[in-house]
Symmetry: C2
Subunit: 318 residues, 2 copies
């Protein structure tokens, strides 16, 4: 495992991919890997990118990767795709657009399915980020599609989170609805040359001023900049990088970076404990007994709390 | 509690609202309520509605409610909003559009925040559905915004799930990405009078034919109809109701309804056990000790698995 990590640190993409696969497959060797990796973390900077379908996230990420590469950084991109609860398959469509970086050994790109498992995002994504961190990437970009709850949670795993909007998608209103105002450290209004861009910037700025709960306690003292970009033309990327740098400086000087990482680690540890408990409980009870329990609930002969107690008792007795 | 349920069954919206609030607030009395409610469930039919922002879900739901009201059914609408992980507040914006039903005593409308808690959707939504069921609603519509993972999971809690698409939002591709093809029992292409509607129908039909993993095992034998609607004009609603009736018939005759409800109950019981375990573990360890544990992980002195073990041990010792 140490050897694999050394190869990853030396820039071997296959070694990094193998380490990420341990996470994605919930490998029995994952635990061993984490024990080795944990001593090498703390040097990379993570940037979350989220937003509705169609706003141009992938193009923006491609440009952002280019900018950090130009500055000499090793960059990893982790694309967390909302995936089927049944097949768990990630769709790689958007990744194709990033092919300009595909042959650059300083860039590692990986799609990861978010799966339908309870707590799936919560435990797998931070571990994948730990792999990238230990493998020595200077910048790790986590891209999520959509603005659902899970995506917001993933964005919360980054040091700095970019929420991307675009004109013509009713995003101003959607931003408020999804609570993304509060997870966003930097706003990007992409496709800024299109009709309606000014209105999006205006609505966003007004909302940022008006919302009493924004910024959230965790970000109190930071006002998210609103950056206009035309990612296809590479316009506005320098301004975005500057906004991210400002945020990184603020995180470091305000002490918020440690606070944020503590919360992330706490959530990860709780999610791991939760997953371990449920696995043990289900194994102790057995599939058939659990199905019978569910049938009793469906039939109205047992309430779900009492059923949950029986499951907990089975785990405790094992 | 029995009295409150009787009032709800008699059509008192405040009684129903109080029961839902027990769920939303994680009231200590919730357990008592569920023990009473569980004996009254099994008569309502749940319909999930999901889709990207801007496709016209709320208008469609309003029309659907109207159609079921015309047929004499008592109808409840539960709108699960993706909400801030920090404030947990649901935004009621869309609900305003449903005001034509606001004064109808046969219609109960409630927004519920999906919250940022782990397993929040998984345990709260089924319990809110149980409240509606026990309160005697014939049809319960669960509406979720977005096509994120959590929203897909919520849709999976319904007997029949409608995925709503519209032209001009790149939804054909998004449908495949979010895995919603597999949770959808009925597709609606809304705004069917707009340019591009034919293409959405065509792409969708092609995808349904081509996808080898669709329909998923749980729905094997059912081909989702693709219904065109213009919800604003009320067009296509009869066809949608017919499609839903066909699906309900298929669920009943194929035995899939019981299978689906068994899975839902199993997931709910597991989520409740999980939540109870984590609450107990966090209480046993204490906030300060858990923060210290997280700090060790951040500093690279402890791997997250060992930290999770310590949390589990604390819970077991309590």
């Amino acid at each position: 495992m140490s050897h694999l990590l050394e190869q990853a640190q030396a820039g071997d993409p296959r070694a990094t991919a193998r380490l990420v696969s341990l996470v994605e497959n919930r490998s029995p060797r994952l635990r061993e890997a984490m024990a080795v990796l944990v001593e090498h973390v703390g040097t990379s900077r993570t940037i979350g990118v989220t937003g509705s379908p169609g706003v141009g996230k992938s193009t923006l990420v491609t440009r952002l990767v280019g900018a950090y590469r130009d500055a000499g950084a090793r960059v990893a991109v982790l694309a967390v795709d909302p995936s089927s609860p049944y097949t768990g398959g990630a769709v790689l469509g958007d990744r194709v657009r990033m092919q300009e970086h595909a042959t650059d050994p300083g860039v590692f790109i990986r799609s990861m399915a978010s799966r339908g498992h309870l707590g799936g995002l919560s435990w797998a994504t931070p571990q994948a980020l730990r792999v990238m961190d230990a493998a020595g990437f200077d910048v790790v970009v986590v891209e999520t599609v959509g603005v659902g709850q899970s995506e917001v949670e993933v964005a919360g795993l980054a040091d700095s989170t970019i929420v991307v909007l675009a004109p013509g998608l009713g995003d101003g209103i959607q931003a408020a609805k999804a609570g993304i105002l509060e997870v966003s450290d930097v706003f990007v209004v992409n496709k800024a040359d299109r009709a309606g861009a000014n209105e999006v910037v205006r609505d966003l700025t007004a909302m940022l001023r008006a919302a009493p709960t924004v910024p959230a306690a965790e970000s109190a003292g930071w006002t998210p900049p609103v950056v206009r970009t035309e990612a296809h033309q590479g316009k506005g990327i320098d301004e975005l990088v500057a906004g991210l740098d400002d945020h990184a400086d603020w995180l470091a000087t305000s002490g918020r970076l440690l606070e944020r990482r503590r919360r992330q680690a706490r959530e990860e540890v709780v999610a791991l404990a939760q997953t371990a408990f449920v696995d043990a409980a289900q194994q102790a009870m057995g599939t058939r007994a659990l199905d019978s329990l569910a049938d009793e609930v469906v039939a109205g002969r047992l309430d779900p709390y009492t059923a949950a107690d029986l499951l907990i008792e089975a785990a405790a007795a094992s």
